[in-house]
């Protein structure tokens, strides 16, 4: 029961912190700008993508529809969203130390493990809210402005056109995996937060790790092939696998497993460090 109350406390703290709304506002503005740009001249983006095909073929139908718009938005924001998550979750432990409230918090009759887990849960709830908002802004607003239709996806092995009826469940699956990936980012930032009393350090470190891993993931060199399968960022983009045909079920399962393992490791390390930590702040 006290665990539930602690989760509620942590959610309230996040909800009443002004910084929490930065992420929501940023998504609103970013997606709004992308929607506006696509509405103004979206076809030129599509033409760039399909340029080599368009010499011989023509694509009939509502190509620039809400499904494609949502996909473009998700692709564009893939690096930004983790930052917005880390901005809030990276502060959950170290922020308390910086504020001095950790002294009071850790003299309450709740175990450190329960307290920390409640922070992880609250971070997860915040992540879910961000993802749901992103889904609403991209998919719902996208469909409202651009209508609906088949989804044209350009993968590295070719163009896939997914039928409209076949898209919604893919988005649902994609968002669920994206949530797991972002929850892993949240876990990483909270874990780093346990090591320091500095508020900004874990946020910056989380972002640096994400950027570094993203660069390693996108560099087209064989030397990183052994490392890539285990990088968090490799599996962060596994939501995209839901838009391949045929669906790479094994790859998706692998990604989910790796992300779960990341979470278990990060949470375990956090619990160990947090329990051992001397509170001198």
């Amino acid at each position: 029961m006290i665990f539930i109350k602690s989760i509620y406390n942590e959610v309230i703290k996040i909800a009443l912190k002004p910084r929490s709304y930065l992420g929501i506002a940023a998504i609103t503005v970013l997606v709004g700008v992308i929607l506006f740009a696509l509405k103004s001249d979206g076809m030129s983006i599509i033409s760039f993508v399909t340029s080599s095909f368009e010499q011989t073929l023509s694509f009939e139908g509502n190509v620039l529809n809400g499904n494609l718009v949502a996909f473009i938005i998700l692709q564009m924001l893939i690096v930004q969203i983790p930052l917005l998550i880390a901005l809030v979750t990276g502060d959950l432990v170290s922020g308390e130390a910086a504020m001095g409230t950790i002294r009071l918090l850790l003299t309450q009759p709740i175990s450190r493990t329960q307290l920390l887990l409640s922070k992880f849960m609250a971070g997860g709830i915040y992540t879910l809210i961000v993802i749901v908002w992103l889904g609403f802004m991209s998919v719902i607003m996208g469909k409202m402005l651009f209508g609906t239709g088949d989804l044209m996806v350009l993968n590295s092995d070719g163009l896939v056109i997914l039928q409209e009826a076949d898209v919604n469940w893919r988005y649902l699956g994609g968002f669920l995996v994206a949530f797991l990936a972002l929850f892993t980012v949240s876990s990483l930032s909270i874990c780093l937060s346990c090591f320091t009393d500095n508020s900004i350090g874990p946020i910056v470190t989380t972002m640096s790790i994400i950027l570094l891993f993203t660069i390693i993931g996108t560099l087209d060199v064989h030397v990183f092939d052994s490392v890539r399968p285990f990088l968090l960022t490799t599996h962060m983009a596994s939501w995209r696998s839901f838009f391949e045909d045929p669906l790479p079920i094994q790859d998706i399962k692998n990604s989910i497993l790796i992300l779960l393992i990341h979470n278990i490791l990060l949470i375990s390390i956090s619990i160990y460090v947090f329990n051992k930590k001397d509170i001198t702040a």
Binding site: K5, N9, T107, Q108, P109, T280
Partner: protein, 303 residues
């Protein structure tokens, strides 16, 4: 004989190469208002944090309510309220919201009414919805006290509770602590640099210095073993000194200025000294016994 509420035995704590606490032992009885004294850097804060499980000592034992803090942490903390150093709350939350957050973690059901009553009690009535960031230092201190008492704990640990309070506030806290002791039979540990307060409020105390407990015991008993320091402002200092030395040849008299002297004296002999000086025709402008605890403290710390 009162039950031991806290028993600390030989705790030690090192941070890297620095030994913050080397060997601290003391006990606190049920119903004590216990003074916890020591100069800056003595290890008071570390000891209190060890007691409240914020820091794990390298060695030694800590028992509160007869149970080890390491094994029965939650149970002990549910009966304990504390302010450690300055009270820090969530700046972006109101006074009410801050107390509500912490009240949820106590094992006692605390409703809106109780929180409002407590805020009123500590003098923050009408400021319930104001953000903590807008509070003065004194108001923050009051909120800290409110949080400490909200769940009606049996043990209260107060670290510098009167810092930043106005004189009325200091008196209020003093009276509150005495009420907690006398009416509610709470046990209070009071760490303070205000030795006058300690002397008035506390019945037992420990002095620690350089990470080691120096002396522990009943305040009055410890003070009664020591002389008062009496300061006299006189019309004829030299004549006064001659009179005093004739009665007390080995006494150490210290010149303060042209008209004032200081000397150690048992309390019972002050009236006689006064009589001797008056009979010698010396005018006494003022006579005061210096705060004894200050001297005792300095003496213990420097020993």
């Amino acid at each position: 004989m009162s039950e031991k509420i806290i028993e600390i035995k030989s705790i030690a704590k090192k941070f890297g190469l620095f030994e913050a606490v080397k060997d601290v032992s003391f006990h606190v009885n049920q119903g004590d208002v216990f003074g916890f004294l020591g100069p800056n850097g003595a290890g008071k804060s570390t000891t209190i944090r060890c007691m409240l499980s914020l820091i794990k000592p390298d060695s030694g034992s800590i028992e509160i309510f007869g149970k080890s803090i390491f094994k029965h942490r939650n149970e002990i903390l549910s009966r304990t309220g504390s302010i450690i150093e300055k009270p820090d709350f969530y700046k972006y939350l109101s006074a009410y919201k801050n107390l509500e957050i912490f009240s949820r973690l106590s094992r006692v059901s605390i409703g809106k009414k109780e929180i409002y009553n407590m805020l009123d009690f500590v003098g923050l009535g009408g400021r319930e919805q104001d953000k903590f960031s807008s509070f003065s230092h004194g108001m923050k201190q009051r909120l800290g006290i409110a949080q400490t008492l909200l769940h009606n704990p049996d043990l209260i640990v107060l670290d510098e509770p009167t810092t930043g309070l106005d004189p009325q506030g200091i008196i209020d806290i003093r009276n509150l602590i005495l009420r907690l002791k006398n009416e509610q039979h709470k046990t209070v540990i009071l760490s303070s640099h205000n030795l006058a307060e300690i002397e008035i409020i506390c019945n037992r105390m420990v002095i620690i210095n350089k990470g080691v407990s120096v002396v522990e015991g009943d305040v009055k008993a410890l003070m009664n073993n020591e002389d008062l320091v009496v300061r006299l402002e006189l019309s004829d200092k030299d004549k006064s000194k001659a009179v005093i030395l004739s009665q007390y040849p080995n006494i150490q008299i210290t010149d303060i200025n042209d008209t004032s002297i200081e000397l150690p004296m048992e309390k019972s002999k002050i009236s006689e000294l006064n009589k001797d000086l008056v009979q010698a025709g010396i005018g006494i402008f003022s006579i005061e016994a210096k705060r004894k605890l200050e001297d005792y403290f300095i003496k213990m710390v420097n020993a």
